[in-house]
């Protein structure tokens, strides 16, 4: 177990440096004027230029200079210093303000996926081949095939504007109710995958030897399903949902942008639209780290939950 943990941690460190190096190289390498590249098509004022030159050590040149700046950037990232956005606000302050909202939204999405997806998946898996099973399979395929940029605005229009069941946009201090519709939209993709995963896993375990043994012992079906089958079938589902939590937190750019939810994704959305380079790079770096760490946690959790997995 310990060796596995160390190996997996080393892998993550490698992935961390790999991705940050890629993010960083893409930002600066081989560009005529890196400052202009950060700012996009917006004009850069003298003060901003001086600030950026000093912050990113742009006065040093060559490959040595590149790695010097890279080390500096990673150091700042690890210390939580993300610099200022072009609007002058500290990115770490913006992040601190936005983070709770994003986490709240991700948890709502995950709850929707668990409550609806896992429950429906269990029913579909128990009655494999029935009407409910086929209907949910077709429905999940539909959900998996519809991109968020279609689902989010349409849900906003039909359920927020046309039939005013939900507030169409969330505003600056969103209540749980305002986050409900975006949470459903965000969670629908994980819902569909969780449903399919639960269904396959339950159906597979129903055919296993231990279920036959339990039946032969004369246990009631209710107990076989709720104790024996569910416990074994939910392992892959739990790990999937763990990965999803990381995905939901880093993948809410479209949903937060469409519903005006002041989370991390919304700030990124606005940063892209207003061509605010430092903001985009800072937020992407943080989100990538969140994504990597959540993947690590889930892999370890998987190994802990399922003793059949060898930590080779």
């Amino acid at each position: 177990m310990f060796r596995y943990l160390v190996r997996r941690l080393l892998q993550m460190v490698l992935a961390f440096f790999g991705t940050t190096l890629i993010v960083y190289a893409l930002m600066f390498a081989g560009q005529g004027d890196p400052i202009q590249a950060l700012a996009g098509e917006r004009p850069v004022s003298e003060a901003q230029r001086a600030y950026l030159t000093e912050k990113f050590h742009l006065d040093q040149t060559g490959v040595g200079g590149f790695f010097y700046r890279y080390v500096d950037y990673v150091g700042n990232l690890l210390r939580g210093d993300l610099g200022d956005s072009l609007t002058g606000r500290k990115i770490s302050d913006m992040l601190a303000q936005a983070w709770p909202v994003t986490v709240k939204l991700a948890i709502i999405g995950l709850l929707v996926a668990i409550l609806v997806g896992v429950t429906a998946g269990i029913i579909a898996g128990l009655r494999r081949g029935g009407i409910f099973d086929n209907a949910t399979l077709a429905l999940t395929l539909l959900v998996l095939g519809i991109p968020t940029i279609v689902l989010a605005p349409l849900a906003q229009y039909f359920l927020g504007v046309k039939l005013p069941l939900f507030p169409p946009t969330a505003g600056s201090e969103p209540s749980i109710y305002a986050l409900l519709l975006p949470g459903i939209v965000l969670g629908s993709l994980s819902l569909a995958t969780a449903l399919r995963l639960t269904r396959t896993s339950v159906a597979e375990n129903l055919r296993s030897d231990y279920v036959r043994t339990a039946k032969a012992k004369g246990l009631p079906i209710r107990r076989i399903v709720s104790v024996h089958v569910l416990r074994n079938s939910l392992i892959p589902v739990i790990t999937f949902l763990g990965v999803e939590l990381g995905n939901l937190m880093s993948g809410a750019i479209i949903t937060e942008g469409v519903f005006n939810i002041p989370g991390v994704g919304f700030n990124l959305f606005r940063g892209i639209k207003t061509e605010d380079g430092p903001l985009v790079v800072g937020l992407v770096s943080v989100l990538v780290v969140v994504y990597l760490v959540s993947n690590l946690v889930v892999d370890v959790l998987y190994a802990v939950l399922d003793p059949r997995i060898r930590y080779e």
Binding site: Q11, L14, A15, G18, T19, I22, V23, L26, M27, Q31, A37, G40, E41, L141, L142, L144, G145, I146, P147, T148, I149, V150, P153, L154, Q156, Y157, V161, K162, N247, S250, G251, I253, I254, G257, V258, L268, F269, I272, K273, G277, V280, V281, V284, L287, V288, Y291, L292, N295
Partner: protein
């Protein structure tokens, strides 16, 4: 013997005689399954329709998608525009028809480049094994660990050119370089299982070198699963392109893209929802068609999944 039994016996002997006369191949079996699957036909028709739209948009509409007049802002249907006009006074339907070309170009070329990278990497890793496999698998792990949308945002922010061709190539490049990992894993595992077959040993014994064994013997036999993966990937690449264009960092005007139109329609949703609904429907149906097609083919080729 009752009549019923006779019929049953005849059916059984008929069922047995057929494969004895001409053994059915895996592909033959799959085709028999597919022919009876309505989802397969629906998605195939949709895919062909979108392809025709991309190749010959003039067949579907006679209006010019760039002909926009503010006087027609949010005007109703008429003048060859079955869904009316959008905020800028452009024909909504014509724009959606012409939008198929950019989406399909990006989707098809990304799938092609993805396929080439995946086949090369997967083949080398699966065939040579040992340290080559270990090294390439780590590369796959790292690339798989990069969230697609975030990395695409950073990469595309670097492209400041507004030339349509440059942007299309940039989007294809970014999607392929981030999206080849799943297909590479599939190729790798099917190469590993094909490598141990008798015909490979036979080819080796006849003196075939590594290159010949790989490309002439193993590759044709491990291509089927990756084609399925690439069909599904084509659909998700189209969705990814639309998402990037929606964010304003993928394709840009004057290129017509469903993502751009959805973003514009969303902004003016309260005045009229049709400019949002029409391109959304085109995009969703296209993505769905490719995903359902891949799903149906995979089900037909792999009966275990059912």
């Amino acid at each position: 013997m009752s009549e019923l039994e006779t019929v049953a016996a005849a059916e059984m002997s008929g069922g047995k005689a057929d494969p004895a006369a001409r053994p059915r191949s895996l592909a033959g079996d799959a085709w028999r399954d597919l022919r009876r699957n309505p989802i397969f036909w629906i998605s195939l028709v949709l895919v062909l329709a979108v392809t025709a739209m991309a190749a010959f948009p003039g067949l579907f509409t006679s209006n010019d998608p760039h002909d926009c007049t503010l006087a027609r802002q949010h005007a109703g249907p008429g003048g060859g525009a079955p869904f009316g006009y959008d905020f800028q006074g452009c024909d909504i339907y014509a724009r959606s028809v012409f939008g198929a070309r950019a989406s399909l170009l990006v989707g098809a070329f990304s799938a092609l480049v993805t396929g080439l990278i995946a086949i090369t990497v997967g083949m080398l890793a699966g065939y040579f094994g040992r340290w080559i496999d270990a090294a390439l698998s780590r590369v796959i792990d790292v690339v798989l660990g990069i969230p697609l949308l975030l990395a695409a945002i950073v990469m595309l922010k670097r492209i400041s050119s507004d030339s349509p061709n440059v942007r299309i190539i940039a989007v294809i490049f970014v999607l392929s370089i981030l999206g080849w990992t799943t297909a590479a894993r599939v190729i790798r595992s099917s190469v590993i299982s094909a490598k141990q077959q008798d015909y490979v040993a036979a080819a080796r014994m006849l003196g075939a070198g590594n290159g010949r064994t790989m490309w002439r013997h193993i590759l044709p036999n491990s291509l089927a699963p990756v084609i399925v993966v690439l069909t599904i990937a084509l659909g998700s690449f189209i969705a990814a392109e639309a998402t990037l264009s929606f964010l304003g960092i993928g394709l840009r005007a004057p290129t017509i893209s469903w993502g751009i139109d959805i973003d514009a329609g969303r902004t003016h949703m309260r005045e009229s929802a049709i400019p949002l609904v029409v391109p959304s429907t085109f995009l969703a149906l296209t993505v769905l068609a490719f995903i359902m097609l891949g799903d149906a083919i995979r089900d037909a080729f792999d009966p275990k999944l059912r």
